[in-house]
């Protein structure tokens, strides 16, 4: 068993003639919380999709538990995915199922457990995210933060080795954000999983991550512990961490001459 549960090796990915990633290398050690950060559109979520085998790289490879993801057959890929849990940005709860049934879903699909055991396991998972009392509610009755907590309970339903979080803090109020933040760290340590967080929320991510990768212009622009990156003098990291408007990531989208655009208009 290797030390790293996920390894991304010289990965390049793009579509429609545009390269999103070029020669990316990352490692995700077992039991750690590793964050992938970067601006909007930098391909952070795409990296999660590549790890999950939902898309194939143009070059390089992603290895999960020593197995190359994109070389797996459909059956092999499904076996690999059973080691993964994923929290989608908006929860992606099944809207026709109750909270209880959403968490029970992976158990019903992949195990032959008796109903009484599924009942206990579902309530334990919901208790872990503080929503045991909401097990009868439908997803439409939940707030954004609650929906994400239910999705987290569903993601850890089968005790996966890896849990991937896609923008877990986006659009949450400060209380919900704090709750999710604490849950990610606590569950990671309690279950011994490896957590991969994709986010652009610096404060929360730095609070719980053991290691951080910054992605920009298709490559890893910087990496290190949150403490190292907070002190980094690299222009991109400095701009991102301190939320500066202009810098290596320009405020203006690439455009032609301003004067020409204004004066050269012909109806």
């Amino acid at each position: 068993m290797t030390q790293n549960i996920v390894e991304i090796d010289n990965l390049s990915f793009g579509y429609k003639g545009r390269m999103l990633h070029q020669g990316i290398n990352m490692v995700f050690p077992r039991g750690k919380v590793v964050a992938i950060m970067g601006g909007s559109g930098s391909g952070k979520t795409t990296l999660l999709r590549l790890i999950g085998g939902q898309i194939r790289p143009n070059k390089g490879e992603v290895r999960v538990d020593d197995q190359v993801v994109h070389k797996q057959s459909r059956e092999g890929l499904y076996q690999l995915r059973r080691k993964m849990g994923m929290l989608f940005q908006h929860g992606a709860l099944f809207t026709d199922l109750s909270v209880y049934e959403n968490v029970a879903f992976p158990m019903r699909e992949h195990t032959q457990l008796p109903e009484s055991m599924i009942h206990d396991l579902v309530l334990m998972k919901l208790h872990a995210v503080g929503l045991r009392g909401a097990h009868q509610l439908m997803p439409t009755e939940l707030s954004g933060g609650m929906a994400r907590r239910v999705a987290l309970a569903r993601a850890i339903a089968l005790d996966p080795d890896i849990v991937m979080y896609d923008e877990p803090f986006a659009g949450l109020d400060p209380i919900s954000m704090g709750v999710i933040c604490d849950l990610i760290r606590t569950l990671n340590d309690a279950l011994g999983t490896t957590s991969i967080i994709v986010s652009h929320d610096v404060k929360e991510t730095f609070l719980i991550a053991d290691y951080v990768y910054f992605v920009a212009n298709g490559t890893v622009a910087a990496e290190g512990t949150p403490a190292d990156l907070s002190k980094s003098s690299l222009p991109f990291v400095h701009q991102f961490v301190h939320g500066e408007k202009d810098g290596p990531v320009p405020f203006h989208y690439a455009a032609g001459d301003y004067k020409q655009d204004l004066l050269g208009f012909e109806a």
């Binding site: 499904y78 059973r82 992949h110």
Partner: protein
Amino acid sequence: MIKRSRLRPFRTLGHRTTDRIWRLGAGARLFWLTLISSGESFRRFHLTIREVYFTGVMSLIIIVVSAFFVGMVLALQGYNTLQKYGSSEAIGVLVALALVRELGPVVTALLFAGRAGTAITAEIGLMKATEQLSAMEMMAVSPIARVIAPRFWAGVIAMPVLAALFSMVGILGGYLVAVPLIGVDSGAFWSQMQANVDWHDDIVNGVIKSVVFGVACTMIALFEGYDAPPTAEGVSRATTRTVVISSLAVLGLDFVLTSFMITL
């Protein structure tokens, strides 16, 4: 040198043609994947039954009400013509044959496309837009086996049952207009129908038609939902396409099937 703008219509035509061919291929691929992933739908038959309820039972009201009016109008129109030739007793045969052979399967399929087809497309499209299908994939659960196949078989099961109900209720509507209202003899109405409606040529062929329409309408609705761009506009367009393509497919297939059935 030909100006680029003059070539634009040809380029647009080319893009549209390749897009149609691509979609046809993608639809055929989804159909094939649905068929080979159908084991789950029968092993866990409650998934299919649940969808039969949503597609079939929930369509009952529109089917029954439409059938009743179609049957009544058929009787009124039919009587109007038949009495000119002194054969108004044949009204029962006319109503039954029109319903069992053509109107039952065709109108049911058109109503099914409008009621259940659009619901299926919107549901699958929204599941895609809200990443529910991706979540399922990431949980190592095939959305085709778990979501698409049960809905497909539910449509295939529901359509002939709805078409049979349509024909029955239509005949009842025709009877109510012809017998109590117009005064055609009740015995003549039923006996002529019994004597002239053939089990194989009329009823079985009608059932075959409705099964084929069930496959076509449900598959079109499922494909449009599965292929819909994950946006509000994308789902809206897909829903519209479901009705348009299903209606045209039903009318086209009806002609082809009727041609074969009459020839054979």
